[in-house]
C-alpha cells in the first residue's frame, strides 16, 4: 500500500503516447475512469429503458427516478424555459455522480478530484450560460450586475461586487467539487494508513473512522453532484429569467 495519501491522484499514462501537434493527449488512468463512468451510465440507462413496462423493475425504476429527479430540479429552479437544457443537466449530473461513485471503489481513480476536469466543466457552463444570457436578452443581460432597489450611493460598490461574484462562479463551482472529492479521498487514505501502521492492536479506532468516513464520502459524492447540477440550474435561471 502506498502510504502517500496524495499518490492516489497521480495521473499515469496507459498504452502508447498520443502526441498531436506537440500536445500530449495520451490515454491515462483518468481517461480510463471517465470512460468507465460513462460506460456504466450508458449501461444503466440502457438496461433501465430496455423494457417498457407499466410496472417497472428495479433498474427501470431507478432510471425513471433519476429522470424525474433531475426534471423536477430543473423545473423548480429554472422554470419551464430551461426545458431544452434538460439533457445537458441530466448528463452533467449523471457524469459527476458516477465519477464520484466509481471513485469510491477501492483502487479506482476519482476523475472529479482533479481541478482541471472540474474547471473545464465549470468554465463550459459559465461561458455557455453567459452566451445564452446575451442571446436571450442582448445587452440588457448586463443588468444582472445592477440589482434593483439599491441606493444610488452603494450602486458602484454593489456592481463591482456583483461582477466579481459573477466572474468567480466557475472558480467556486469547480473548486467546490474538486476540493470536496480530494479532501474526502485524502482523509480516507490517511485513516487507512493509520490502520496499517497501528496494526491489530491500535488499528481498530482508525478503522471504525474509515468505515464512518466511507459512508460520509458516499453521501458527499451524491451531494456534490447534486450541488454541481443545481448550481448550473441556478446560473441558467439567471440567464433565462432576467430579474432580481
Amino acid at each position: 500500500m502506498a502510504s502517500n495519501p496524495m499518490q492516489q491522484f497521480t495521473v499515469k499514462r496507459i498504452g502508447p503516447e498520443i502526441n498531436i501537434a506537440g500536445v500530449d493527449l495520451s490515454f491515462t488512468n483518468a481517461s480510463l475512469f471517465m470512460v468507465i463512468s460513462a460506460t456504466v451510465i450508458i449501461l444503466f440507462l440502457f438496461l433501465g429503458s430496455k423494457e417498457k413496462k407499466i410496472i417497472p423493475n428495479k433498474l427501470q425504476l431507478i432510471a425513471e427516478m433519476s429522470y424525474t429527479f433531475v426534471a423536477k430540479m430543473i423545473s423548480d429552479t429554472a422554470g419551464s424555459k430551461a426545458r431544452p437544457y434538460f439533457p445537458f443537466i441530466f448528463s452533467l449530473f449523471m457524469f459527476v455522480l458516477f465519477c464520484n461513485m466509481v471513485g469510491m471503489l477501492p483502487y479506482s481513480f476519482t476523475v472529479t478530484s482533479h481541478i482541471i476536469v472540474t474547471l473545464i466543466m465549470a468554465l463550459f457552463i459559465f461561458i455557455a450560460v453567459t452566451i445564452i444570457g446575451f442571446i436571450k436578452h442582448g445587452f440588457k443581460y448586463l443588468s444582472i450586475f445592477v440589482p434593483s432597489g439599491v441606493p444610488a450611493v452603494l450602486l458602484p460598490l454593489i456592481t463591482v461586487i456583483e461582477i466579481i461574484s459573477y466572474l468567480s462562479r466557475p472558480v467556486s463551482l469547480s473548486v467546490r467539487l474538486f476540493a470536496n472529492m480530494m479532501a474526502g479521498h485524502t482523509m480516507l487514505k490517511v485513516f487507512g494508513g493509520f490502520v496499517v501502521s497501528l496494526g491489530i492492536l491500535g488499528g481498530w479506532l482508525p478503522l471504525s473512522f474509515s468505515v464512518a468516513l466511507t459512508g460520509l464520502e458516499i453521501l458527499v459524492a451524491f451531494l456534490q453532484a447534486y450541488v454541481f447540477a443545481i448550481l448550473t440550474c441556478i446560473y441558467l435561471n439567471d440567464a433565462l429569467n432576467l430579474h432580481h
Binding site: 491515462t28 483518468a30 460513462a38 440507462l45 417498457k52 429522470y67 434538460f86 493509520f194 501502521s197
Partner: protein, 191 residues
C-alpha cells in the same frame, strides 16, 4: 491508551516523512492537463449525445406511456362506475315498478276474490232461503196431512177398540166427531 497515542503520533511522524518525499498535489502537475481536457470533452460529448438522442426520449416515452395508461384506466374506471350507477338506478326503478305492480295485482285479485265470494254468498243465501221456504211448506203440508190422517187412524182404532170391547158397532160419524173433538183439545200439545 498512552501507548496507543504514542503509536499514532509515531505513525503520523513516519507518514509525514514519507509525504515529504513526494511533495505537492498531482492535480497541479500540468503534464496531463491537455490529455484530461481532451478525454473529458470527448467522453462527455459522446455521453451527452447518446443520452439526449437515445435514452432520455426512451425514458420519457415510457413515463408518458405510463401516465397515459393510468389516465386511461382512471377514465375507464370512472366510466364503469357511472355505468354501474346508472344500472343500479335502472334496477331500483324496475324493482319499484315491480313492487307497485305486485301491489296492484294484489289489490285486483283481492277485490275480484271479494266480489266472487260476495256473489257466491248471495246466490247461496238465495238458494238456502228457497230451500228453507220449500222445507217449511213441506212441513206445514205434512202437519196438515198428519192431523187428518191421525184423525182417520185414531177414528178407526177407536171404533175397533169399542167393537172389540163392547162388541157394538158405533156410529162412525159420532166416533169421528169425538176423535176430532179430543184431537182438537190434545193435538196442540204435540204440534
Amino acid at each position: 491508551m498512552k501507548s496507543f497515542l504514542s503509536l499514532s503520533i509515531a505513525s503520523v511522524a513516519i507518514n509525514t516523512e514519507l509525504y515529504a518525499a513526494e511533495a505537492g498535489m498531482p492535480q497541479l502537475d500540468p503534464t496531463y492537463w491537455a490529455s484530461q481536457a481532451f478525454w473529458l470533452i470527448l467522453v462527455f460529448t459522446i455521453l451527452y449525445i447518446s443520452i439526449s438522442k437515445f435514452y432520455l426520449p426512451k425514458i420519457k416515452d415510457n413515463l408518458d406511456n405510463r401516465e397515459n395508461k393510468i389516465k386511461e384506466d382512471l377514465e375507464n374506471a370512472n366510466k364503469f362506475k357511472e355505468e354501474s350507477e346508472a344500472k343500479l338506478k335502472e334496477y331500483d326503478l324496475i324493482l319499484e315498478n315491480a313492487k307497485k305492480e305486485v301491489l296492484k295485482i294484489h289489490f285486483e285479485s283481492k277485490s275480484a276474490l271479494d266480489k266472487d265470494i260476495q256473489s257466491k254468498k248471495e246466490s247461496m243465501e238465495k238458494e238456502i232461503e228457497k230451500e228453507i221456504l220449500k222445507a217449511q211448506k213441506e212441513i206445514s203440508e205434512l202437519k196438515k196431512n198428519s192431523i187428518s190422517s191421525i184423525q182417520i187412524i185414531s177414528g178407526s182404532i177407536v171404533s175397533n177398540i169399542i167393537e172389540n170391547i163392547s162388541g157394538d158397532k158405533l156410529n162412525e160419524s159420532s166416533i169421528k166427531a169425538t176423535v176430532e173433538d179430543v184431537s182438537k183439545k190434545n193435538l196442540n200439545k204435540f204440534l
